[in-house]
């Protein structure tokens, strides 16, 4: 188990290095940041001075090495546009994105699993079929369209919920939260649904098909043949076996919730990291883009690692391999 964890950790490290390289080198071709940093009234000496300051004339390897060295210490340099440390800007924006991701992940997982189980157990029922049909909408409509439709319905027509922003937030110094105020909570509803709907339908369909598969298994028949009550068959015997493959996909989906918050944040003008990234692209703010990419890949790698370790917790057959080893 320890050897396995270490090996996984090492692999994760390699992945991060490669992502860092790709991020860093690709962004060199996006455009010249000097153009956007200095206005029309620039002189050649201004340009050269800034190039020197930013280290843009150094060889590629030196720039990459310096980037990595600083990145490890949490220093992603100064934003070209805002002239403030990138780490500081991201730290300021992260709570908004993380709270949004948390709420939509919770929404997606709770309803995804519950509806998945429901549609599997009552697979011929009217309600289950209706849910399955409606879920097609969640899979096939693009996120921005769902967001816009929700805004139209609940903000414009009904006027129940705000159409943009986080509402009032409480500043805890290191964290800003929208959970503490009524308007903050209300502002979370529409973006969370928009962001989580796709994941919810995906999880629901996955849980349903896995559960149907498991319910056909011999051990479920045997449990029934022993007179185990239906509730226990479904939730003790079947659900646990359903969860193993569901955890993988769900874990990866949570990563993409954070990564793809960009679209939702744009639609709802949510002041999070995604919106920051979109703005950074417009201004070729390389340090911000690089930092964002690194952040997302760290998150994906971490989630993958956690998912793998969760297997051990759920499936005893994997735990048995720790002594055998292969």
């Amino acid at each position: 188990m320890l050897a396995y964890s270490l090996r996984r950790l090492f692999q994760s490290f390699i992945v991060l290095l490669v992502v860092g390289l790709v991020a860093f080198s690709m962004f060199r071709f996006v455009g010249d940041p000097i153009d956007s940093l200095l206005g029309q009234e620039r002189t050649q000496s201004d340009i050269e001075r800034l190039r020197g300051e930013l280290g843009l004339d150094d060889p590629f390897v030196v720039q990459y090495g310096a980037f990595l060295g600083r990145a490890v210490q949490g220093d992603f340099g100064l934003s070209y546009r805002q002239a403030r440390p990138v780490a500081e800007i991201i730290a300021e924006r992260a709570p908004a994105t993380l709270e949004l991701a948390l709420v939509s992940a919770g929404f997606a997982m709770f309803f995804g699993v519950v509806l998945g189980i429901f549609t599997a157990i009552r697979r011929d029922g009217f309600a289950a079929n209706a849910i399955m049909s409606v879920s097609l909408i969640g899979v096939s409509l693009p996120t921005f369209l769902i967001g816009i439709l929700l805004i139209y319905l609940f903000s414009v027509e009904l006027g129940w919920l705000p159409s943009f922003g986080r509402g009032d937030v409480v500043d805890l110094g290191w964290w800003t939260t929208g959970f503490a105020t009524g308007s903050g909570l209300k502002a979370l509803i529409l973006p969370s649904i928009t962001l989580g709907l796709y994941q919810m339908t995906l999880i629901m369909r996955l849980v349903r098909s896995e559960m149907l598969e498991v319910l056909r298994a011999d051990y479920i028949r045997f449990a029934r043949a022993r007179g185990i009550r239906e509730k226990s068959v479904n939730f003790r015997h079947a659900l646990k076996n359903t969860l193993v493959p569901v955890i993988t996909v769900t874990g990866l989906q949570l990563g993409s919730i954070i990564a793809f918050a960009i679209i939702t944040e744009t639609v709802f003008q949510w002041p999070g990291v995604g919106l920051l990234f979109i703005n950074a692209i417009q201004f070729v703010d390389i340090p911000v883009m690089a930092a964002y990419l690194m952040l997302i890949s760290v998150m994906f790698v971490a989630i993958n690692l956690i998912v793998d370790l969760l297997y051990f917790a759920i499936d005893p057959r994997l735990r048995a391999d720790r002594s055998g080893g292969h």
């Binding site: 045997f222 022993r226 007179g227 646990k240 759920i314 005893p316």
Partner: protein
């Protein structure tokens, strides 16, 4: 004869399909007495398992009992549904499935699977159930039973798992065990042990056993009486010794001729030409007549031959021991 634990009267199971109604079990009759082992033999698709599933109320939809009666210890059970049937399963009827590798829930400790079953049916405390679980494992010949309670199924070999399955089927002390091909998935050397175990346990407790198998050898060694099924119908029913040595029905005769038995010496095995009729194309009259060398006009016409309390459902039962004529 002592009182019958299980009585099946004219049991018919039907599957409605687009092409018409299929009848995988067609008006079969038999009793199983206390402590008696009734072997049910027949080819794949002869309706052996379907009859067993009908008794324990685990027919897969759309198959359902459309005629006849099933009596268990003097109570009619074929009309029971839902909760009533569930309470019967495990408590009064135990079942052993074919494949021990898939019969046990891989994610639950075997001790938990045992105690769960006992707590469901018996009015005992959790501690007591655990003690009885250990005793049950010990009884089926699992070494160091008390320590193995916390083991998972994958930590046992196939034969050991089938012992666990038997312990599970017997743990609430049912009066009838349905063993559906209990040794088919096991090594030959383990088969004999499992059969001996099943036989001993049921003798000791007076449990009636419905032993479903296509292996005549297993039946010859184990069962007291044997029912031969062909195309959903009962072809022959009688004491094992009589049926094995002097089969009356030409099908049984063919079945015996195709089975290598030590008592017969080394002779070329016979085969029955043709194959069992498909349920979608059942012939008129006796289902066996297209393959039968003795078939006459009466065999091809309705009404088809029935057991009617006799041994075989045949117009021309074989009078002489088959081995001397072959």
């Amino acid at each position: 004869m002592s009182e019958a634990v299980l009585s099946i009267r004219n049991l018919t199971v039907e599957i409605p399909t687009r092409g018409g109604i299929l009848r995988p079990v067609d008006q079969i009759n038999y009793d199983i007495n206390r402590g008696e082992i009734l072997g049910i033999v027949g080819e794949s698709g002869a309706g052996k398992s379907m009859a067993g599933n009908a008794v324990i109320g685990l027919l897969n939809r759309p198959a359902k009992i459309t005629g006849g009666e099933i009596w268990l210890n003097g109570t009619r059970i074929d009309q029971l549904e839902g909760e009533d049937m569930r309470r019967l399963r495990g408590k009064h009827i135990g079942m052993v499935f074919q494949d021990p590798l898939t019969s046990l829930n891989p994610l639950l400790r075997i001790g938990d699977q045992l105690t769960e079953t006992m707590l469901e049916h018996l009015d005992i405390s959790r501690d007591k159930a655990r003690k009885r679980a250990a005793a049950a494992l010990d009884e089926v010949g699992i070494p160091a039973a008390a320590q193995r309670l916390d083991s998972y199924p994958h930590e046992f070999s196939g034969g050991m798992r089938q012992r666990v399955v038997i312990a599970l089927a017997l743990c609430a002390e049912p009066s009838l065990i349905i063993a559906d091909e209990p040794t088919t998935a096991l090594d030959v050397s383990v088969q004999a042990q499992i059969i001996a175990l099943l036989k001993r346990l049921c003798r000791d407790r007076g449990t009636a056993v419905m032993l479903i198998t296509h292996d005549m050898g297993v039946i010859a060694e184990t069962a007291d009486r044997v029912a031969v099924m062909y195309a959903g119908r009962l072809a022959e029913l009688g004491n094992v010794r009589d049926v094995v040595t002097h089969p009356e029905h030409p099908y049984t005769d063919g079945l015996m001729g195709s089975t290598p038995l030590a008592s017969k010496g080394l002779k070329r095995l016979r085969q029955i030409s043709g194959s069992m009729p498909r349920l979608t194309a059942m012939p008129e009259g006796c289902a066996f007549h297209p393959r039968c060398e003795f078939a006459q006009d009466i065999c091809r016409a309705e009404p088809r031959p029935k057991l009617n309390g006799g041994r075989s459902a045949c117009h021309f039962p074989i009078q002489q021991p088959a081995e001397e004529t072959a």
